[in-house]
């Protein structure tokens, strides 16, 4: 898998009384942290890219192709949520296998891919476990293993590590960074933690009141030259 560019061109969307309008351009294989206050529209931005929400107007382009009208399954995108990434009644291997076939019709090659993905995410030997038998961190690893077998060029992370402790979170960020180094997918990651952005992101997109108010490389955003509102948001 390699990356794909993402482009949002004056994407209009209304959520309750909030009018949102997004413009954003992300290069192929980039890692962008999406930051901003609660309710500013970070998750909506990801949902628009994934296809869970449809824009009222404007276009969402992935790899130069307009995907605005495509249903989620036909977009070259994988997404990891903060929780509920796994079906509680399916084993780890089945949960990962769903990424290959949504009806779980898997052949030998699929099974070996699944085993490899689980091994890569540190879950070797846990194929037959049920999600309830895993820790929070392990459950998110399963979700990442599924991302690997799907091998889509765009990865969307919606605060996937927010409910993990600091050490585990660093570990998971490290894993995402390693997976990115191997596969080069484009990553959009919603986070509240400046540390996450520091550790992983090349660029930071700052969202305020339904708009991308700033987008610059991480170093700039954490320097004196950052926009005032962003400095106020991270509390420096």
């Amino acid at each position: 898998m390699t990356g794909a560019s993402i482009r949002l061109d004056s994407v209009q969307f209304s959520y309750g009384s909030t009018q949102m309008s997004f413009n954003l351009s992300v290069e192929s294989s980039d890692i962008v942290a999406v930051m901003g206050p609660s309710g500013s529209g970070k998750s909506t931005l990801l949902n628009l890219v994934a296809g869970f929400e449809r824009p009222a107007s404007g276009s969402v382009m992935i790899a130069g192709r307009d995907v605005s009208a495509l249903p989620p399954a036909q977009r070259p995108v994988s997404m990891v949520f903060q929780e509920n990434n796994l079906f509680a009644h399916l084993t780890v291997a089945q949960n990962v296998g769903l990424g290959r076939s949504p009806s779980l019709r898997l052949d030998a090659a699929d099974h070996s891919d699944i085993d490899r993905a689980l091994e890569r995410t540190g879950l070797a030997g846990k194929q037959a476990r049920l999600p309830a038998q895993l820790s929070g961190g392990e459950r998110q690893r399963v979700a990442l293993a599924r991302v690997l077998v799907r091998s889509q060029p765009v990865l969307l992370l919606d605060e996937p590590f927010a409910s993990l402790g600091p050490a585990l979170r660093r570990e998971m960020l490290e894993l995402v960074r390693a997976l990115h180094a191997e596969h080069g997918m484009t990553v959009l990651m919603v986070t509240h933690h400046p540390d996450d952005a520091h550790a992983l992101a090349h660029r930071i997109a700052f969202i305020e009141e339904g708009r991308v108010s700033a987008c610059a490389d991480t170093a700039t955003m954490f320097s004196e030259n950052a926009p005032e509102s962003f400095k106020a948001y991270i509390g420096n």
Binding site: F52, P71, N84
Partner: protein, 533 residues
Amino acid sequence: MIDRRILAGSIGLAAVALLIGGAFAGLAAEAFHDFGRTLGAIDAYLLRVVRFTVWQAALSTALSVIPALFVARALARHPSFPGRGLILKLFALPLALPAIVAALGILALLGRAGLVSDLMTTLTGSRWQGIYGLSGILIAHVFFNLPLATRLFLQALDTVPSDQWRLGAQLGMGQRASFRFIEWPVLRTALPGVAGLVFMLCITSFTIVLTLGGGPRATTLEVAIYQALRFDFDPARAVTLTVLQIALTAAIVFMLIRLGANMAGDANLSVSPRRPVASGPVERVFSAILIVSALLFVAGPMAAIIVSGLQADLVRLASDPAVHAATLTSLVLALGAAVLSIALSLSLVMARRTLELHRHRNAAPSLLEQLFDTGAGFVLVIPPIVLGAGWFVLMRNTGLVFVVAPLMVVTVNAVMAMPFAIRAIRPAYDAASARHERLAASLGISGINRLRLIDWPVLRRPLFMAMAFAMALSLGDLGVIALFGSDSVQTLPYLLLARMGSYRTADAAGLALFLGIICLLLMTFVDRTGNRT
């Protein structure tokens, strides 16, 4: 010194125990008095009645629950189906409708002279005989329970996290995959509880079987108890039937508790969850057909009640002294039952909370506290007709059977409504107590002052809600009055049954419309009040 609240609760509990105990005493005395005849009542006919009771309940459950799975799924997959909110509201109505009114609606639609009888005659090619017997019972039970089961399943589907629907959409799950991985697991979890609840409702169904069942071939235990007492005057047989009925319901309640079923049967549904699902045109058409069929099935009898009720000579009915008397009797008895019900419930709630306050934080609740807590729940096991039958047998030699009729209706209906009343009152009382208990104690506010100044403002709403529910339940109940009713004490359902029995169908239809409207108004009030708290 014993706390007055505990005293009140103990009196309440004793009253409930007296009602249940008296019924059992009557049954036991009769059984011992004539043990041979009681045993002798177990004959081929009785076994046939037991078999039919279980068989009709099993069929009704299957016919209600299996279609409900698919209707609920269709409604879940199409959150913006036109009129979805209205359909869900309509699906809550059958539960609020007295069984006798529903039975009349079904007869008005599908009976021998029903609204569609000409159509059915043309379709089948022979004179339409109307639905009676097993088919009538099944249609009535499905009318009540299909919408109930649909709402409960939909509630289960609402618990699926939206992330999982989104995940399913992203992974490209089709119809079968999303059913298998997303919908079926939650439906399967809800299935035993819902099926158990429906089975329970069908096995204790009295009015439907009485009005739609046809003769000895379609009789259930409850109706056989009624016939043994009112027509054959055979108390020994009634006792045997009653014991069988209690054993049957106790076994089912035990199973339900093991399954952790929600005995309340109320569902809070989100009107329009955002739920991206892949749905092709075939699925959309199929779902629409499914939803519309269920809608017609539920709306048909209700429309028939209105149409046939309006065809009745309402002016003459309105000036009929028997109707006036029955309306007055019904309202007085229902009000009595409602007041008694909330008084008993409130006394148990207060006593339970008081005991909870007095014990050490981690100590286990005492037996008395547990009784205050769940004591009223036992009435769920004992159908009202059984309570009535016990007292009927006990009183039959005193010559007072028809004199105590009003008292029996009031007390039995009051106790029947208690589980609901307690559920409405207890959270409000406990919350208020948690906030005010110490303050009230430090200011020395207790007794009637406390009730008036501190508890009344928070309890007013749940109390009215419980009262309206108990009134609706009592107004529509035919179980106890069928046993104890007479020409001198008639309620609206009893009068309705009498008019049906004497083939004054138009009168019955007019009364059904009247009774249905009163009960629906009361239940709407309950619903509104419940949603605001």
